[in-house]
């Protein structure tokens, strides 16, 4: 009669047990990840300087305003400034650059460059050259007031040579392009 307990059989048995254990271990359902704790950024008031047109549409009127910004990222601060810009001046000195109720342009920040997406509704404004320049330049001056180098404008999320046919949008605007 052959022996049952041999070294070979013992090794085989150990391998069988080990493989069963591994099979059972890999078949276990993964543990559910725990969601990260929700951290709401602090909404805080920050000062911004907004630019509007004077009543002759040939110069700017500055207005200092405090806007509520969630966090301190430049993108959120710029977007908050544009929301305030679209609402128009509050102290009654300047003229709003876009009609009341107009959509607010979107803005992104990449390093020192601002990218502003003007809504397609802005192409219906029918302004003259002074009006179009005022829209472009009041936005540029508002965004570049604190930091940044230039502002590139898109129209309806696409690059466009001009907004109303008067001003050149092919290159970014700097403060020097919008001097008083």
């Amino acid at each position: 009669m052959r022996r049952l307990i041999t070294p070979f059989n013992l090794v085989g048995l150990l391998l069988l047990v080990a493989s069963l254990f591994v099979r059972e271990w890999v078949s276990r359902p993964p543990t559910s990840p725990t969601p990260p704790p929700l951290q709401l950024e602090l909404v805080q008031p920050l000062p911004v300087t907004l630019y509007f047109s004077n009543d002759k549409v040939d110069g700017f009127v500055k207005e200092n305003r405090t806007v509520s910004v969630e966090g301190k990222s430049p993108g959120k601060l710029a977007q908050a400034a544009l929301v305030a810009w679209a609402r128009g001046p509050l102290n009654g000195k300047g003229l709003r650059d876009v009609p009341q109720g107009s959509a607010v342009p979107d803005v992104w920040v990449r390093g020192v460059h601002f990218y502003v997406n003007l809504p397609t509704s802005y192409t219906q404004f029918n302004y003259g050259v002074s009006g179009e320049r005022m829209v472009i330049c009041s936005l540029t001056r508002t965004l570049l007031e604190q930091s940044g180098k230039d502002v590139l404008f898109l129209v309806g999320s696409q690059s466009s040579p001009t907004l109303l046919g008067h001003m050149d949008l092919t290159r970014p605007y700097t403060k020097a392009d919008c001097a008083d």
Binding site: S53, D58, G128, V129, R133, T162, G165, H166, L169
Partner: protein
């Protein structure tokens, strides 16, 4: 003993051969005055040779093994290249000077570089040469003659040697520039119907022949090279096609583009009314005018850009509008700063390089001159207008010549609106604009061509 003698003999032979080899390649450097500039030559077999690179400023040397062809001063020489420098420096070689074959020194290679004998070159080119000095004969206009023809008139210019020349046609003036040519300034009269007279002037070492091309007249210029003289023949007349660069003809048929902005609200289309009235006045006077908008609609922006680039005068006509603005009157917006078309920036300040450049891209003063004319004309009609410089105007930034935007008024202002809608006001603005554009273009054409249209 015999072996020692044999060795001595061999050593002596070897030394003699070495000495012969060294002697064969021997040459000495010498100073050479070539066309007034000091340079270097080598002396081979008692004759001076100059390298191909040294001569390249004087003549065109092209190596076509086993020959070298030398062209210049109205002559063509063909010299065989003899790799044996000693043999090349003898006068037993056959060379071809224009149509004549004769025995003279020929070209050779020294250390792989091509050298040419100066005495042979001087003989073939008609230059003055003595050891150490190779001077070119002064190019001079030796004779001027003309002949009247049925369809063309002919002017014949004889020179002492082949001159460098260039033709420049701007507007209706043809200028033949003869570089480095001595000529007596004189006005010549001909019996021809197409070129009754022409002038030869001399300035800064160059001679210039100037004449006026008649209406529809073309020209043809060709050179006749003969041994000892070179002749330029200029035919002018309506029998020849006017194959001049389109750019040079641009001032003769300038394109005026009027770009009326959309009318916006209101029943009257004031920008279009003014553009039409201006265009009509200019067209009646023979000017070429295009409008970018009709009652049916406005051209796409790409088409307007194209017209702006082709224009000599580009004017956008618009109305001022802005919510709540308290403004009135006419404003002229002049583009300032860099243009958005980079080609214009590149050539704007390069007008002195070629007259063609100023025909293609005007200097920044064109807009200013036209603006001043227009403001003056408006003022003369009792219309007060202001000027405002604006950077980054789009279509005006594409225009290579005079371009601006004219804001005709502010309809939201009651006073302005009352004026704007009157036909008298439209007529006055159109008159002023048409007159100033025509005056500007006439002056510009006269400046570019040196004569009136």
């Amino acid at each position: 003993m015999n072996l020692r003698a044999d060795l001595r003999l061999r050593a002596a032979l070897l030394a003699a051969l070495l000495l012969l080899g060294v002697a064969g390649a021997q040459y000495a450097y010498s100073k050479l005055m070539l066309g007034g500039q000091e340079t270097q030559a080598i002396v081979l077999g008692g004759a001076e040779y100059a390298a191909q690179g040294t001569l390249s400023g004087v003549v065109q040397v092209s190596r076509q093994d086993p020959y070298v062809v030398v062209q210049g001063l109205g002559h063509e020489l063909i010299l065989p290249i003899d790799q044996d420098a000693e043999r090349a420096a003898t006068t037993f070689n056959t060379v071809q000077l224009d149509n004549t074959r004769l025995n003279a020194r020929t070209a050779t290679l020294v250390n792989g570089e091509l050298y040419l004998p100066l005495d042979t070159l001087a003989r073939g080119l008609g230059a003055d040469y003595k050891t150490g000095a190779f001077s070119l004969p002064a190019a001079a206009l030796t004779n001027v003659s003309s002949r009247a023809g049925k369809d063309t008139d002919r002017i014949v210019l004889d020179f002492s040697r082949d001159p460098q020349y260039a033709v420049n046609v701007v507007g209706n003036t043809l200028t033949l520039i003869l570089k480095g040519v001595n000529a007596n300034p004189q006005t010549y009269a001909t019996r021809g119907a197409f070129v009754p007279s022409f002038t030869v002037t001399s300035a800064s070492g160059n001679a210039r022949l100037g004449l006026t091309l008649g209406s529809g007249a073309g020209y043809r210029l060709f050179k006749v090279v003969r041994p000892g003289s070179v002749r330029l023949v200029l035919d002018i007349g309506p029998g020849l096609p006017r194959n001049v660069a389109a750019l040079t003809d641009a001032p003769r048929a300038p394109l005026i583009v009027l770009d009326p902005a959309p009318k916006g609200g209101g029943s009257l289309d004031i920008p279009l009314e003014v553009a039409r009235a201006t265009g009509e006045l200019l067209s009646k006077s023979g000017w070429q005018v295009k409008l970018t908008r009709s009652a049916a609609g406005r051209l796409p922006i790409a088409e307007r850009e194209k017209l702006a680039r082709q224009s000599q005068v580009f004017v956008t006509l618009s109305l001022g509008r802005f919510p709540g603005a308290n403004r009135q009157g006419i404003t002229l917006y002049q583009p300032v700063g860099e243009q958005n078309a980079q080609v214009i920036n590149a050539y704007r300040d390069a007008a002195n390089v070629s007259p063609l450049i100023s025909a293609a891209v005007g200097d920044g003063g064109e807009t200013k001159r036209l603006s001043e004319l227009l403001l003056g004309e408006l003022g003369a009609r009792g219309l007060k207008a202001g000027a405002q410089p604006v950077p980054r105007l789009y279509l005006a930034g594409q225009a290579p010549h005079a371009a601006f935007e004219l804001e005709l008024g502010w309809p939201q202002n009651a006073g302005d609106l009352a004026n704007l809608i009157t036909p008298q006001r439209t007529g006055k603005v159109a008159d002023a604009l048409a007159l100033s554009v025509a005056t500007f273009l006439k002056a510009r054409a006269a400046n570019l061509s040196g004569s009136g249209q």
